[in-house]
Amino acid sequence: MLFSSIVFIFYFLPFVLIGYFALSFSRKLQNVFLLIASIFFYAWGEVRFLAILLICIICNYIFGLLIDKFKERRNIAKLILVAACTVNLGILFVFKYLNFVVKNINSLLDQNIILPQIVLPLGISFFTFHAISYIVVVYRGSAKVQKNPINLGLYIALFPQLIAGPIIRYTSIEQQIVHRRCTLQKFSVGCCRFITGLAKKIIIANTMAIVANHVYDLIKISSLPVTLAWLGSIAYTLQIFFDFSAYSDMALGLGLMFGFEFDENFNYPYISKSISEFWRRWHISLTTWFKDYVYFPLGGSRVSNKDTMVRNMFIVWLLTGVWHGAEWTFILWGILNFAVMLIERVILDENSGRHKVIKHIYTLLLINFGWVLFRSNDMYEASRFLGNMFGIHSSGFNSSYTTMFLKEYGMFFILAIIFSTPIAKRCNKLLVEKRFGAFEYILNFTYPFVLTMLFFISVTYLVKGSYNPFIYFNF
């Protein structure tokens, strides 16, 4: 089930809210109810993969108990940890990467290994990473083993973060599972956050998707004019940010409505002045996960040998690329991020306040080129697209399509660019500091109206059956 759907907004959400708050007298019952609701949420349209989610919960529950049982005997505990990681990553490998590996073996070794078509279960990359987070922290002893399978199930499968993240580390939610507080303040902020996310997804991301998808469809059959290639790449750059951050907003908002406080997943990444900064602001939960469970265990930056640090960075960014999808484009995208960050470490002084504009332009350009690689179906398409952006084998400079897209969607581009900066956040800050004078009352008064209108417009687009892609099927 998707958040941006009629069935979620007008059937699932009201039902779950009523059920959840009706059980306010018992946290245990609330958790059972939320778990059942989460399983139903996942099963909606993905019934055949429900078993995988349940197996993941049960296996990791058992692995956790075993690790805890043998916590004094580190070798055995380590063995169980390895087994647990193998099972989790094995599931992920079979469903996400096996086809890709076999395809490459076939082409490399001229073999003809035939595999049945394996469909990627929704959200598998997210819930397996949740499971690994739990197992690792139990092994490390930084969290207690979860003896209640319902609570563990809730952590792995809680519906707000089940299919598109954020990837919540077990330690940050361990206490909340049992001791969270539902307050009117949290609930209100959660509602507003959910509406904002819904509007970002429906009004901006889906509209950017129309432009991006048409341009990326056109490159499949012909070369693009320079302006159209740039417009398509910018549209996708905006689409992926608004789509992904909108889902995080909705997840955080829903979490707050049920009393959970998840960590922020995005922090205006497009205002970054380096790629390193970008990754501190983009999909923060994934970056933090890799840092905690891969980079630091490998030694991180605090190694005597610089080569080891470079190797550690390479591994992390290779895995980051691979996590995003089973295709060479993702692998290269990960490696390029590694290379750029390595170069930045050597030549870029991040703390320097000089050349801010140039740094910003450089970062945005690299991000944009990175998304071209990320969005393209294969390396050939990516190279053609990038080439067309610079006039190499392009079909001219301008096209009537570019003008048309700008006329039809110019307003959405402007909105997307404005709201990819922290302008709303800064306005809010000024409002809190009472720097708007009399204007403050108008802004405060119109806030509920604006958000209600955004909700109404979003529902209008949904009812109308407007274009509503879900870009996480590959994740």
Binding site: S5, I6, V7, I9, F10, Y11, L13, P14, L17, W44, G45, E46, V47, R48, L184, Q185, F187, S188, V189, G190, C191, C192, I195, I210, H214, D217, L218, I221, S399, S400, Y401, T402, T403, M404, F405, K407, E408, M411, N428, L431, V432, E440, N444, F445, Y447, P448, L451, T452, F455, F456, I457, V459, T460, Y461, V463, K464, G465, S466, Y467
Partner: protein, 404 residues
Amino acid sequence: MKNLFIKKQITAFVFIALLFVFSSLNLINSYPKIKEYMLNAKVTKIKDADSFVKNLETSINDSILDKYTFVESYGALQVLLGKHEVNNFDFAVDKDGFEYDSYFFDDFNDKYADKLAKGISKFRNELKTQGTEVLVMTPPDKFYDGKINGYTGIPYSNYSKDIDTYYSYLDKYNVNHIDLRNALINSGFTKDQLYYKTDHHWTTPASFVAFRELVSNLNKLYGYNLDSDGCYRDWNNYYKVQYKNAFLGSYGRKIGTVYDGLDDFELVLPKFNTSYRFEKTSTDKVQNYQGSFEDTLVNKSILNINDVFMRDMYSCYLDGVLYPYGKITNNLNTKGPRILFIRDSYSSSLAAFLSTTCSEVDVLYPNQYKGDIKQFIEQNHYNLVIFSGYCGTLRPDLYWYLPK
């Protein structure tokens, strides 16, 4: 800080109130349809469960409360935004307010046209041994005159140009065909009178022009003597009932009247005496109508529906297209030819008008007819079979029954 939370609390209150009130009313509204769907669904395998959920979600979306209020709001938003393409290039409007399908890729190519023409030719050869002739007639779209007053860059569909490609291959296989574009251009009617702005169909006057052209061509190509005195083809021998600002076409129903406005609809009925029997065969029943042209071939109840979104006036002739087979018997012309239209929705009013000159005109909609079409034709011994698919349906596989 206090204000910050107060405004969020007010927003949350409004949101929750709206959510629960609308959800409850919506549930009451949708419950019968959802219940019906769930009772009729058969789920025996896991695979069925996925499609069950998918269809249930579609049913939930379709039956949402006040759907058309949302459609109107969507249309109003598009007006405010100055948009000319609608819903991810589903369709687009030109400067004169006409709506067209919109597509970026032209997939009607020579190879496909050749295959289609070859299939028709084989079919023609097989039917010829039974004494049945074959004719192809492809109603054009709003591009019939090759002109559009469009906005720069919007990829309006131009299906009419596919007729040239298609007909060149029909020529290759010597299949008879009629090009209606010149007749429409020289009809004396303007584009406003020939095509609806909010729908992809032609108007009743346009189908009358096509009827005249068809009769002339049938006489010329097959030596028929239809309407020898021109009485049935005389526009003055018909009543015209104007329904001003009454029709919202298929495009319009997707975007609403605020964006689109409404089209006029013209009901055209013979002044002369007529006597018909119309047998309409649906999948589960056969309906019979007896009487005049007006009583049998026109479903006037459609014209009286109050809700403009439900009032598909175009479907009043022959009750539209969504049934497999219909048989029109002209009791006053028992000696005329027997003609079968293998058709789409464009042919409803056209077939009705043609029936004035024939003893029998049958209409078969291949998308809904499940039997063997060739066998059906052989059993009914028609004089002529007309393949009448509008140029926009050349792409979808309307011709699945043709021999490979």
